[in-house]
């Protein structure tokens, strides 16, 4: 046989495996008697559960508690006449994402399609519910695509624009959502009216953005050779990581007013924000430290040998590389923080969970817990899963990238 093969020196295709449906079933489900039993048990379990869910969703569930209160879930008691401010921010975000995409990833990726289709699905859903907002959601995709093509057309200008927008976005969000003055173009809206998913997202974004610089400083402190700085950083990080977030939130609500001089009062949302930032900073520090540890000593030495100052060395050489390696981890942290913001419901804030409990307290919705909790769990799930999926893709594309 070997002699025969060696005489035929052409390149042969591999023997084709017969991939029929039956073959697949045999290989993956019924390869042994044990596997067969497992498959049958698991299969019937899935069937029962699916039938149950479908029956419940389409027959027994009463979705009025969700349909009638969509606006509340999404933005709490934020006045409807000011909705356009939120839409402006969403469009801006879409534009920014599009710009970032073309500037830093250079090509359309699976995540882009995922994001686009999520908005499409949401739009169709709203359409089915008969809300007039479906075209606004489609506009989100539109702005994203505009951003992307801008980035493609004018790469250099767009890169600067992206960075500028990124830096400006957060202050802009707070400015536009809060507003100023009593009447005028954008009247002030107190934080007591912020609620629902809007508040949950805001808390998470503010938490991650503001904890970032603190976390970087703490990580540098913990990595430094200076014993006093190192000890202080370790104490902070370990104390915060050692206690549950809920104790910090209560501390924020009950103790924070005491820490400030008499006469200064801060509202409940800010108190929660402070606690969340303190909390997130400790975890951020550990994540960034992971990135710092991944930088080889040679990079420090090369920077020293060129004569860069300690500050320049960190800013130009070490941090850019360290942060780049931790981007996926930071997305993970953001997801965690987004989920953790639900705890503010326990200190009386009306975030997505808080507003859901508020709605359930309405006598006309007695007994509708299942519908409400399934609905908000689904919202949390969609956001978290989409982000974690994006983070995984990001990890892959960063890993194969320019390194």
């Amino acid at each position: 046989m070997t002699t025969q093969l060696s005489s035929v020196s052409e390149v042969l295709p591999p023997p084709t495996e017969r991939y029929t449906i039956l073959g697949w079933l045999h290989k993956n489900l019924f390869s042994s008697w044990f596997n067969s039993i497992l498959s049958i048990v698991a299969g019937s379990f899935v069937a029962v559960v699916l039938v149950g869910i479908i029956k419940w969703v389409f027959v027994s569930a009463q979705w009025a508690v969700v349909n009638d209160n969509i606006a509340l879930y999404m933005k709490g008691q934020y006045p409807g006449a000011q909705d356009w401010r939120l839409w402006v921010l969403i469009y801006l975000a879409a534009l920014l994402v599009g710009l970032m995409w073309s500037s830093y990833f250079h090509r359309v990726d699976v995540i882009a399609w995922v994001l686009v289709s999520i908005f499409l699905v949401l739009a169709i859903w709203l359409l089915l519910l008969g809300k007039a907002a479906w075209w606004k959601l489609l506009l989100v995709d539109g702005f994203g695509i505009v951003g992307f093509s801008l980035g493609q057309r004018f790469p250099n200008v767009s890169k600067r624009l992206t960075i500028l927008l990124l830096l400006l976005y957060m202050p802009l969000v707070l400015l536009i959502i809060r507003g100023f003055g009593t009447d005028g173009f954008i009247p002030q809206i107190g934080t007591n009216l912020w609620g629902g998913l809007l508040l949950s997202l805001l808390l998470a974004i503010i938490g991650i953005v503001f904890s970032f610089p603190i976390g970087v400083l703490l990580a540098l402190g913990r990595q430094s050779q200076m014993p006093a700085l190192k000890t202080l950083s370790i104490i902070y990080i370990e104390v915060i990581r050692g206690v549950p977030l809920i104790t910090l939130l209560f501390m924020g609500q009950l103790m924070l007013p005491f820490f400030l001089p008499a006469g200064i009062s801060i509202d409940r949302v800010i108190r929660a924000v402070v606690a969340i930032i303190m909390f997130a900073a400790a975890y951020m520090a550990e994540n960034v430290r992971g990135g710092l540890q991944s930088i080889p000593v040679g990079q420090y030495e090369a920077a020293d040998a060129i004569g860069l100052s300690g500050y320049r060395k960190m800013l130009n050489i070490i941090l850019p590389q360290a942060l780049r390696t931790v981007i996926p981890v930071l997305v993970g942290q953001f997801i965690g923080l987004f989920k953790d913001t639900s705890l503010v419901a326990l200190v009386g804030l009306l975030d997505l969970l808080g507003i859901a409990r508020g709605i359930l307290a309405n006598p006309s919705y007695i007994g509708r817990q299942l519908e409400v909790f399934v609905f908000i769990a689904l919202i949390y799930w969609i956001f978290s899963y989409a982000m974690s999926y994006a983070a995984r893709r990001l990890e892959i594309s960063l890993g194969v990238g320019e390194r």
Binding site: Q299, E301, A302, D304, A305, I306
Partner: protein, 246 residues
Amino acid sequence: MSEPIITCRDVHKWYGQFHALRGISLEVKKGEVIVIFGPSGSGKSTFIRTINRLEEHQKGTIIVDGIELTHDVRNIAAIRKEVGMVFQQFNLFPHLTVMQNVTLGPIQVRKWKKEKSEEISMQLLERVGIPEQAYKYPGQLSGGQQQRVAIARALAMQPKIMLFDEPTSALDPEMIKEVLDVMTELAQSGITMLVVTHEMGFARAVADRMVFFDQGLIIESGTPEDVFYHPKEDRTKLFLSQILSH
């Protein structure tokens, strides 16, 4: 070629209990090319790393270009400006392009204008033979090309002294020559060089003086002629026979 540009007197260094440098005294004249060799762990790398303060010496005196290396941060900064270094592992900055790698020092430390720095850097990249790679990232280059970028990066600061810490040890055999060629050209240009290497062909061709290190001491030094053909010490003979035999 008279006044010494580097003066080391009785330099000691400990790592914990381990006595890594046991009293090194060496004078290097301006424009001299010195090749340092010796078995691994003999302190040769540690020694050249003390010259730009990547390692702190704990006893003795090091004077570079008239500046004494002390705990004074101003002196350390001044010396690092005058001393360029090339590492075994290249240590290029992977997140910066070749051009950004080379211009980083001139722009941030020398405070030169970006245009001027880029012009100089381009000339240096031409000198090391890879101007066409200027806008690529280090990860896209071969080992030999990366090491040549590292040489250009060190030269961009226009140093008076160049330190090479086993610049060819991490390279595949076919890339060693392209790096040695650049170094040879550099040696002939009159810059002061301290090179830790086992490339004896290179040493024979360009070294003014060879220094043999063992166990934290300078065992022997002299012209390549002397060291290769009339080594005085047995340890030098033994070591040379080991590295030249294969």
